[in-house]
Assembly symmetry: C2
Homo-oligomer: 214 residues x 2
Amino acid sequence: MPASLHKVSDSAIRRLSIYLRVLGGLEREGKETVSSQVLADRAGTTAAQVRKDLSLFGSFGKRGLGYLVTTLRDELRGILGVSRTWRVALVGIGRMGAALLEYPHFRARGFEFVAVYDSDPEKVGSRRGMLTVEDARVLEESLRETGVEIVVLTVPAGAAQEVADAAVRAGVRGIMNFAPVALKVPPGVRVNAVRLTVELEVLSFSLGSVADRD
Amino acid sequence: MPASLHKVSDSAIRRLSIYLRVLGGLEREGKETVSSQVLADRAGTTAAQVRKDLSLFGSFGKRGLGYLVTTLRDELRGILGVSRTWRVALVGIGRMGAALLEYPHFRARGFEFVAVYDSDPEKVGSRRGMLTVEDARVLEESLRETGVEIVVLTVPAGAAQEVADAAVRAGVRGIMNFAPVALKVPPGVRVNAVRLTVELEVLSFSLGSVADRD
């Protein structure tokens, strides 16, 4: 992988991930090739953006022919690291945690929940699909034994840093954080935060601007 | 509001939203002032970034004193449009929809669910907290009557565009889209997409890069 890849922005990665979804749809429709324009339309961006994003990783298209759907899909799967399966643990079984655990698209994309933890004694030992809820007090040891690579955090804000610290000690290198708090992690560990109220505020900010323009 | 506001990036808005959260915490701790460094540490960014973000909207800090916590919080609430209440509807009561409906932080931030819709006859008429699930077939009319301003979409990908079209006809100007599909909306309508598998792929891409570096 060329060194330049390390500088690819999260926004570019998000678009690649969306192109991958579009290519899956095209393949199911039996399409063999696709132009950057059609790919862009379905992904909600521009043809120039598609070409720019893909050119970061090599030369995939053929002039006048477009991209080969299956080939490009396989390339993108490799680039995004979804051509393999990631071992994921969920910590914190509230309503959001339960919803994520049963979110069908994760597994389809190569993210497999292999363990689930909570600190509530009433939840520990109960079943969630194929998994049994384990006690968060043994988190570090259990994550290590289970070979977990990514942790999805749906614990209250006050507990999030402690859980993250234990996960890092257990060798986890990726954390998807739903708790409304900024986590501190050592270099080499990546946190991606999903903050739902923040996303609603991005909307309300735009609506405020629109209203002012009217 | 100065015209320049319309050019503020979503990333800057996300950070402002996080500063707002940090300021709320500082206020509860009884702090009256805060330096850009402390604000940055708690928000997981740098002091220079804090100063740059805030400077987009005016001059809030005092040299050597920092920012007045309550004043800055009130300013940010105004800028982000959360000093008012937004009327929000949820369309699609699957597990994710149900989790969002009961997410306590939305209400605390001024986003109030005033209506909920589903197309499943077994769900229509059932209670969800204070709300009764309404039939998605009357969506457009009902959204208009209820004065809904923001719609949260948690329907399957195949239904999302149709629902969005109805919402737009009903006067909705903001859509938070959890469906894995790019929505087409007219100018003046803002869509913010939350794509959970995409966020996991941002993580797996980074982990792939890290592994390659080792």
